[in-house]
């Protein structure tokens, strides 16, 4: 076994009122992939931020190749050979791809002036190395999400760092893209670098990682080689109790048609989307990232204007021009972009939960606080939101807990149809099970559910039926029991049709 390239000893980090990390130690070896696991809010991202000089630890020591280091800024971390892909997308839409890669460490030539041609050449080389021929002078805003992700990876590689940290890099990716990413990870490993990999998806962890470090509420509760543990053991370590890993599928009697969608189209993003959705049914919507699922469902929800199409709910034709219309009719949509579209970060949990259904809490002319509190408590407990109090600002919660509050907000509207767009993106396993269970329960109560997920096991585990979208159109439909993962992925990528 080689010497650790980076060690953390007794690291603690406190925020006002929160102990995010407590006496955590870990060691990273070159040429190995260490998985960092833990529930939402366990402190994973906090470790990343300490290692990259964004937070300074309250206590503890960082050593790189045996040398004690303190990082005041990401520059110090880069200098020490540490680079990261952060959980939040942190990019500059208005700047070029090359600048996005080299921001903060642009190559300079004579007179310390930026050497653009060298920067472009280097960027092109880096992108080529990860099989992404994106022109380096393109403005980032012209790229697709997947391409942006590649740029972020190129940025992490640009430092030629010995330690590469990836905080939930796969949360927004689907199968093929994850394969590509793992090729890159394998390459890094082969080059003798240490990789830290954070994910809530255990199949990925077991596929790619060598070691694991498990956190729970800021404490390190376990570490070691992954070959020594089983998945249930890991989960138990993480959550502190056993959780059934298999996504449970409730047997729900499926009723009459709730929602009927015909020929939903807009100009450039999706066309001719038609389907029927029955009461109690969970309809999975699968596709590669960028297949237009989000757009189609946002069109249905009244966010983007339609050019064509009709929507009928329980036999009544609807005219949906805005989200307010949709909510009023009984359709809810849990958006995929939590930070921007879902959460109101500077308001409290209570205010977020009741936001989409304020009418319900109006007594006379005014809002009733007790009524709001009841609702918040009920939904918050049901979804196991972890917070200090129900008035806490959403921005102070971990990503996963924010997502739970956003889901609670939509459940509070008592919808007839709920569209869940990547509802468990970035949610830990215990909470995920709670969300799944809740989805099942809602279906049991006769709610019709549309579930968009890029996680195939999740869709296959929960859905009664799966529609597959590709390039803005529905290309295939699968019934429960008559599907296989290969067939679904094949439909999503277009390989199936060609092969046939």
């Amino acid at each position: 076994m080689s010497e650790p390239i980076l060690t953390l000893t007794g690291v603690s980090k406190t925020f006002p009122g929160v102990r995010a990390l407590q006496n955590v130690s870990l060691a990273l070896r070159p040429g190995s992939v260490t998985a960092l696991i833990g529930e939402n809010g366990a402190g994973k991202s906090t470790i990343v931020k300490i290692l990259t000089g964004i937070y300074t630890p309250t206590e503890g020591e960082i050593r790189v190749a045996g040398e004690p280091k303190s990082f005041a800024s990401p520059r110090d971390a880069w200098a020490a050979g540490i680079a990261a892909i952060h959980q939040e997308t942190v990019m500059f839409d208005e700047l070029s791809v090359a600048e996005n890669i080299f921001m903060g460490h642009m190559p300079v030539g004579a007179g310390r002036l930026v050497d653009w041609s060298e920067m472009r050449a280097k960027a092109a080389a880096l992108l080529k190395r990860i099989d992404a021929e994106i022109p380096p002078e393109f403005k980032l805003k012209r790229l697709s999400v997947a391409q942006k992700h590649l740029v972020e990876i190129a940025r992490a590689l640009s430092h030629e760092a010995q330690v590469v940290i990836m905080d939930e890099p796969t949360a927004a990716l689907s199968a093929n893209e994850i394969d590509d990413l793992f090729r890159i990870v394998a390459q890094l490993k082969a080059e003798g670098r240490a990789v830290v990999f954070i994910s809530h998806k255990f199949d990925e962890i077991f596929r790619i990682a060598d070691d694991f470090v498990c956190l729970r509420d800021g404490d390190k509760v376990g570490e070691g080689p992954l070959s020594d543990v089983t998945e249930p053991q890991l989960v138990r370590m993480m959550v502190g109790r056993p959780v059934d890993q298999v996504f449970p599928k409730r047997d729900v009697p499926i009723g009459g048609v709730a929602l009927s969608v015909r020929d939903l189209s807009n100009a450039t993003e999706f066309a001719d989307v038609s389907f029927d959705l029955r009461k109690g049914e969970i309809l999975g919507l699968y596709g590669l990232v960028g297949a237009g699922r989000t757009e189609a469902m946002q069109g249905l929800f009244g966010i983007t204007p339609l050019t064509r199409g009709s929507v009928t709910l329980e036999g009544k034709p609807l005219s949906i021009r805005s989200p307010a219309d949709a909510i009023h009719a009984g359709i809810s949509y849990v958006p995929e972009d939590r930070q921007e579209q879902g959460a109101v970060l500077s308001l409290g949990i209570r205010e977020n939960v009741t936001l989409a259904n304020l009418v319900k809490h109006v007594r006379g002319l005014f809002l009733s606080r007790p009524s709001e509190q009841d609702e918040t408590r009920r939904l918050g407990r049901r979804l196991a939101v972890k917070a200090a109090n129900w008035e806490q600002r959403l921005g102070e919660l971990s990503g996963g807990n924010q997502q739970k509050v956003v889901i609670a907000k939509w459940l509070a509207t008592r919808p007839k149809v709920i569209i869940l767009d990547e509802p468990t993106k970035g949610i830990d396993i215990g909470s995920k099970a709670a969300v799944h269970d809740f989805i099942g329960e809602l279906a049991g109560d006769g709610l019709a559910v549309i579930l968009i997920s890029s996680e195939l096991p999740e869709v296959m585990g929960l859905a009664d039926r799966i529609l597959v979208m590709k390039e803005g159109r529905v290309v295939d439909e699968f019934q429960r029991g008559k599907w296989s993962a290969e067939a679904i992925v094949g439909a999503a990528t277009g390989a199936r049709k060609e092969a046939a």
Partner: protein
């Protein structure tokens, strides 16, 4: 984007091949799906409009983007029309006057742009200009033997200090820029009264060289124009060729991302407001020396003209977007409007209404240019590239 274009692959104008040839060649190619990670499927939609890098059009766009080209065009047509009515407007002398009159606006707008790039705003620039100008004038009045360079330096330094006060409180205490500079706007203007004891400094009280400098001409252009040219070049180099300059775009474009890239937002903000202040100081000297008077009311309300110039030039109030060329064009545009109206004998009462209308028109046009491109997911939309109007009409 500014800077020299390096050789890039000629990008395709036709519909994309189904299987980009980036992955390894092989027999299984036909079955291998185009990897969306490399973005081929989506990516092509965006690159369709790209022309051959070698073509002149492309090189032109490296200097001026579409919006700036549009603005330049409007300017040329506008000047042509004005010239048709009043040929005197096109005389070299008048053009020289326009440039001289606008030189302060050029510099102030560039400095304001630097601040707006960081998502800030500096409302105190005009007050800073007036105060710094007053200080220079007082030096000239009471110490007439001071070398001119020192008097100009006094103005620049005073501007710099005033700008740094803004910058320090904004950067290190996180006071919102609009609040901070609204406050210092009042404070700096009031300080003029206090420092000068309510008095003004007249042309006859200022030194002769002090006033003569802005009137000197070289190759038909006055010193303020030359200074503006020099300052513009410095700004261009700073914003495009230095790390700190690019850092300003980063901080304004995405502050969190900038932090993750090790860019110190506070330091960038301090830098931006210091630049803004120093330029205001320099302009303070030029203003006072040129108009031959310093008192508390000079350049009253000028901050809004400066911001308007930025806005017309395509600087986004949301931060992170703006170019030197655009801002200069915006300032020139306002400069021409301000100097053309008197020449055209448009009744003075119309002037304000016209500049208001021009600002509104500019924002509306800029906003159209800035509209986020559609996501071209549908294959037929990608084939048409950005020009999806046809498709939209067909589908409606």
């Amino acid at each position: 984007m500014a800077g020299r274009a390096i050789k890039t692959r000629r990008l395709i104008v036709a519909p994309p091949p189904l299987t980009p040839s980036l992955k390894g060649e092989g027999d299984s190619e036909a079955l291998t799906p185009p990897s969306p990670l490399w973005g081929g499927v989506r990516g092509w939609g965006y690159v369709i409009a790209e022309a051959d890098p070698a073509s002149g059009q492309r090189r032109m766009r490296n200097v001026l983007n579409y919006r700036e080209l549009g603005l330049a065009l409007v300017l040329i047509v506008g000047v042509g029309v004005i010239g048709a009515y009043q040929p005197v407007f096109l005389e070299w002398r008048n053009i020289g006057d326009i440039l001289t009159e606008t030189s302060v606006l050029f510099m102030m707008a560039l400095a304001q742009m630097v601040v707006i790039l960081t998502r800030g705003i500096d409302l105190s620039v005009a007050a800073n200009l007036a105060l710094s100008g007053m200080l220079a004038a007082l030096v000239s009045q009471y110490y007439p033997d001071t070398p001119l360079v020192l008097m100009i330096l006094t103005a620049i330094l005073s501007g710099l200090v005033l700008g740094m006060i803004n910058g320090a409180l904004i950067a290190f205490l996180g006071i919102p820029p609009i609040v901070m500079t609204l406050g210092t706007l009042a404070v700096y203007r009031g300080l003029i009264i206090i420092i000068a004891k309510g008095d003004q400094v007249n042309a006859s009280e200022m030194g002769v060289t002090f006033q003569a400098f802005p009137k000197m001409a070289l190759l038909g252009l006055t010193t303020p124009v030359w200074i503006a040219i020099l300052v513009s070049i410095l700004f261009w180099v700073f914003l495009n060729l230095t790390r700190a300059g690019r850092g300003l775009y980063a901080v304004g474009g995405n502050p969190v991302a900038a932090r993750y890239c090790g860019i110190d937002q506070s330091r960038q903000e301090l830098l931006a407001y210091s630049i803004s202040g120093a330029v205001a100081g320099l302009c303070g000297y030029l203003w006072v020396a040129r108009y031959g008077v310093a008192y508390s009311e000079i350049a009253n309300g000028y901050e809004l003209t400066v911001i308007a110039a930025c806005v017309i030039g395509g600087v986004s109030i949301g931060g992170g977007v703006g170019t030197v060329a655009g801002t200069l064009l915006g300032a020139l545009f306002l400069g021409i409007v301000m100097t053309a109206l008197p020449v055209l004998q448009i009744t003075p009462f119309w002037q304000m209404a016209i500049s208001g209308a021009v600002i509104l028109a500019a924002v509306v046009i800029n906003a159209r240019a800035e509209k986020r491109p559609d996501k071209l997911i549908l294959p037929e939309a990608r084939r048409l590239g950005r020009d999806t109007r046809m498709l939209r009409r067909a589908r409606a």
